[in-house]
Structures are given as structure tokens and as C-alpha cells.
Symmetry: C2
Subunit: 150 residues, 2 copies
Amino acid sequence: MVSKVNEYENGLHHFENACRQNGLSITPQRIAIFKELASSSEHPSAAVIFRKIREYYDNISLDTVNRTLLTFHEIGLAKVVESSGDPKRFDPNLALHHHFRCVKCGKIVDFENAAYDALEIPRAIQKKFVIREKRVHLEGFCDTCRSPDG
Amino acid sequence: MVSKVNEYENGLHHFENACRQNGLSITPQRIAIFKELASSSEHPSAAVIFRKIREYYDNISLDTVNRTLLTFHEIGLAKVVESSGDPKRFDPNLALHHHFRCVKCGKIVDFENAAYDALEIPRAIQKKFVIREKRVHLEGFCDTCRSPDG
DNA sequence: AATTATATTGGACTAAATCCTATGTGTCAA
DNA sequence: TTGACACATAGGATTTAGTCCAATATAATT
Ligand SMILES: [Mn+2]
Ligand SMILES: [Mn+2]
Ligand SMILES: [Zn+2]
Ligand SMILES: [Zn+2]
């Protein structure tokens, strides 16, 4: 078992390498944003990350958070998750996995499934398009939203 | 083979029945929006539909188009397609099918695939959530965006 | 044709995201 | 270690998407 500390350090090293390889300087803002995203499992929006960082970093700007999250996406440090309009949601989990999204509260939940992972891209699609992501997307009501009201 | 006219009439009947069953009156605006959506295969946003209808219907409001598309979704006449932030995209195709989305130009393309259709919802997910939609989501670069620039 | 509940309009408002430019700071080479 | 510079950020302005609201219009029913 890998210790938490090592996981954490590995994450930071990955981040620093990715920045260096892409000619991006390593700023306190980028570090804070990376840490916040990496330690999150709720597929946060830029605004959510912004508010969390603001708790201890009193003048980081929302623009920087937005710009940086998009940069992370470009250099492969983060993914942008499928939503339905509404704010963009970011994902630090780069491994192949799948999503359930609650149409009521917007919660996005990861899950793993070997059969889903094994799906092949249809020939006709492969010929025509360059595929970068393949995910199964489930939608419905989560455990919290399913019962009382709606 | 069903004639175009019949398909069209069936669509309109379906629309009218859905409205009646839900206590919604059949207004010229709703008819125009339904026709425009039903005859589209590009998964249009509200703004796109609004602009098309404006070409011949000179004072329909954007608010009505937005509100109506959401209503259509509620009463099962349309689906809201998975995107990545950015404007909501609507889908008149109620049949089980799957999507490719170009990350550059935003184009969303339908495709059918029996293996994808046959995917089962994992036990653990079924127990916890109420599933309403199941789709495979592919992402990448479309035929137009793949080549020259990047 | 009159009634009434529902729907639409258009402008105001809110929220998300991007743009702009003056200021600040990581990085690298001396 | 310092200095120079290219790159990055802050914060305010702007753009864009979506919603709200109150006055007006109209579909459905009688
Ligand atoms: Mn995820
Ligand atoms: Mn579709
Ligand atoms: Zn929920
Ligand atoms: Zn494209």
C-alpha cells in the first residue's frame, strides 16, 4: 500500500512535470488549484474551487481559477466532465471510468465497470473521428433525490 | 416505408397529444418550436432554435423558446443532451442512441450500436439510483476539425 | 361571444465565463 | 544572488446564457 504522503507527493510531481514540459511556470495559484482539484471527488466547478481556495488565499481571482482549470485540461492534468449546460465540471481522475449524474441536484458520481471499459469504438466512428474519450453516462435520480418530493 | 408527410403528421400528433395530456395549450409558439426541433439533427441550443424561428416569426421571444424546450423535456418530447458546460443542447430523438461530440467545434453526432444498447446497469448503481438515461459518450475531433490546424 | 386560466413578451436581472490591461512574479542566465 | 524579461495574475468591464417579472395576449371552454 502506498502511503498518503507518497500519493500526494506523486501528484505534485506529476503536476510540476506537466507544467515544466509545457513551459508553464509553477505559481502558488496553480499549486493551490491543483491541490484543491486533486483532493476533490465531487467534480467541482470553477466557482466551487474558487470559493474553497478563497478560504485561505484571500485574493486569488475567479478568472485565474477558470483559466487554470482549462489549462490543466489542455495539458492533460484534468478532464472536463459531461454535464447538461450549467457550469463546467472538472475531474482530476484521469483513469478510465464512468459517471452517473443526478438530474435533480447535479451530483456526479464515479463508478468502475469492466464491461463498460471493454467497449470498442465502432469502425465507422473510428474512421471518421479521432476519439479521445469514451465513457458511459448514466442519468437519473440519486439516493438523496429519489424519494420524498419528486 | 412511411411517407414523409405521415412521419410529419405523426410527429405533430404526438406533440399535440403530449400537450393535451399535460394540460398545456397548443400555441403557435410551441408548434413552431416543436417543428424546428423535430426537423433538426444537430442537437440545437435554444439560441439556435430561436434564430431559425425568428426568420419567419418576427416577435417570438428567447425566453419562450428556453421555457418551452425545458417543458418539452419535462413532458418527454425532447431530451437534454450531455455537453460540457456551454449552452444546453436539445435532442428530438427519443430512441436509445449514442453520441460523439467534437471538443473543438461542439458538433454532436448520433450513432447507433447494438452492443452499446445492450449494456446493463451495474447492480450497485441500480440499487442506489433511479436510472432514466443510459448513453455512451464519445469525445474527440470531428472530420472537419481533425486535420489542418490542430 | 364572453370568460378565465394559461402563455407570451420584452425588459430587467442574475450568473457564468471571458476579455483587458496594469501590475506582479517565476525563471533563467549572468 | 541579482537583474531582466517573459509569462501570469488581479480585478474590473464585458459578453453570453438563462431566468424572473408584470403587463398583455390568447387558447380552451362554455
Ligand atoms: Mn469522474
Ligand atoms: Mn442525439
Ligand atoms: Zn440528487
Ligand atoms: Zn469539430
